[in-house]
Subunit: 369 residues, 2 copies
């Protein structure tokens, strides 16, 4: 794939850590929530191997927060998601698909419940703040909605616990998955969750004090040498292997949560009041005709500019690959694809064109590993 | 400035013209509405000189459309903008700031009125579709909201009229500024407006039929040789000289329309019902304390990663530069800056740090030329 430089501007916001990652050799950027998000350092594959063996510090400030607070905040947050949050607890993180009134997906944030009347939606790449503002204005809700200046540092990888314990004390090891608490670094309290956009384990530090966050960034590298800490970022190969879905890549506002396999985050029979509920019941009762599945392709390289079509032997459409990468683990290209119903149990290979050649592949369940 | 490659993926959508502009030598991309937008070809300065003398074809598919149609569409569109559209006419384009219920800016689209109950909002870089969907759901409006597959080609520059007349016939020369009509290319009707994100004059072709658009793209270059047609894109230097504001660069959701000099697109005394109206009256009556102005800096180079602070002799803050570039016309750096009220009539130079050196500059009115 030919490289094209990114043209920087204020509109593609830098983060408090941008200078640091550029000094450390970030080798590509993507843009996420109007902000620079590193996409690779040494290479996709080298970063992948390192992430699975050691520990990385990630500048994921682009995972922006939408803060919703005030008297009607719980009602507004619930209105936006098909997941029942009526029994949600302060101190917990909830992966929760956001849905519009047609039952289509708007985003898939982690919703952090800070208080009964204060929430942070840690969002994927779409402007949830304007959805929330529109709904609040239309319903005359008494809420405050803003994007606070929170710039997340993620610490990910099998040695993440050891590095974090060295910085924040052993108590952080007791933090359970998708729980958060506050921990001290040199006199500054940091909101830390056991979460992160990899399957290797780790933490996300929701930095509100940028200066302390920059100091913490440097400190993690200083004391992390014994764990072979490196700068990193959400890794395309690792996240596809683990089937961590990406809004805009694997699904978007033309897809519904059933097609995206979000059934377990959807509570249609609960008392929760949310947008698109009746529409989603109709879709469920009628049955979906396509869904996200895995694909394995007998090839070693793929460029994904846009989705690629899969064909059967009769040149009928099997589905569309939306994300893909070469997996060193499977020794072939793996991908996430929207597969048409007749092919969900496909037992013979599909065909796909890559760089004007035809390759074959198979459909499989997610996650891969 | 060091170059960093952009990491492509489906999430950063390609356009129907991406293959063509890459073959023609696009040299940098930005991302705009989750889509690739070319940022330069030969160089910012070479592109600038060419744009001001000849004619360019631009892939500005990233100027996405939000289509709002149905019984309550006029009410919803009006609710979103402080510009009075109650007397708006089919066939006309309206530059219209979108405002939230706090009186802050959400976007600054051109609103095309296709019919009394059908509108295209040709948007800047924020997800207006979710603002519209939230407002529609909250108000129980009877509307349809979607992003149609429209991929704009702009034809810009002093020779744009000649090139367009050669392709679409002399009748297109009669099209007035900010009006649109339908014109035929090889049997396919195209929506064409006299508009565009430059001050050099030209047209925007709202391509709905991608195949015809690609054919048209090639045809414009074939028949445009006599006008020295080249591929181009919105040019940073030219748009700053002409004070064409950019959402996310020059203003954003923390700014109000008075601060952004949108007074003439704001009808607070009209009967139009829109969000933030009372709040905007309060802001107007109280008076703003900062506004966008021009700056000229005695230097030949500037990198804009994020806004830069301007200081007076006492090191008090004059304001913040938000966009800037070297202007070959003024032989210095020019920029768009949010200037604090005490400095609106500043008659002595401010100071600014660029790459660890101090330079001086002056505040001026917009546009520059």
């Amino acid at each position: 794939m030919k490289n094209f430089p990114i043209s920087k501007s204020r509109r593609l916001r830098s983060t408090p850590y941008t200078d640091r990652i550029e000094n450390q050799g970030v080798s590509a950027y993507t843009v996420y929530n109007h902000m620079l998000l590193p996409a690779s350092f040494v290479s996709l594959e080298a970063d992948y191997h390192h992430l699975k063996e050691f520990v990385q510090v990630w500048d994921v400030a682009a995972e922006r927060q939408v803060e919703i607070s005030g008297k009607d905040s719980a009602e507004l947050v619930q209105l936006m998601t098909c997941r029942d949050l009526t029994k949600s607890k302060v101190g917990k993180c909830y992966y929760a698909p956001l849905i519009d009134d047609h039952g289509n997906l708007v985003n898939d944030p982690i919703i952090n419940k800070l208080a009964e009347d204060r929430w942070w939606l840690s969002i994927a790449d779409s402007d949830v703040i304007f959805f929330a503002k529109g709904l609040a204005a239309g319903n005359n809700f008494e809420v405050k909605i803003k994007e606070p200046n929170v710039n997340i540092l993620a610490v990910q990888g099998p040695l993440a616990d050891k590095l974090m314990a060295k910085v924040f004390g052993e108590k952080i090891s007791e933090l359970k998955f998708f729980n958060f608490d506050y921990f001290d670094f040199k006199g500054v309290k940091h909101f830390i969750a056991r979460s992160g956009w990899s399957k290797q384990g780790g933490f996300e530090i929701y930095v509100e004090n940028s200066e302390s966050g920059q100091d913490l960034y440097d400190h993690l590298f200083e004391v992390g040498k014994e764990f072979n800490v490196k700068p990193g970022c959400p890794n395309l190969i690792e996240r596809i292997e683990g089937a961590l879905l990406s809004y805009g890549n694997d699904f978007d506002n033309r897809d519904n949560p059933l097609e995206a396999n979000f059934d377990k985050y959807m509570n249609l029979e609960s008392g929760a009041k949310f947008l698109g509920k009746e529409r989603l019941k109709q879709i469920r009762d009628k049955g979906i005709t396509r869904k996200l599945m895995g694909v394995k392709i007998d090839h070693t390289d793929i460029d994904m500019y846009c989705e690629k079509t899969l064909f059967d032997d009769n040149n009928d459409i099997v589905g569309f690959v939306r994300s893909a990468a070469y997996s060193p683990t499977f020794k072939k290209v793996i991908g996430i694809a929207m597969i048409n119903k007749p092919y969900w149990n496909l037992d013979h290979p599909f065909k796909i064109e890559i760089n004007e050649k035809i390759y074959v592949g198979t459909v499989c369940d997610l996650p891969f590993i």
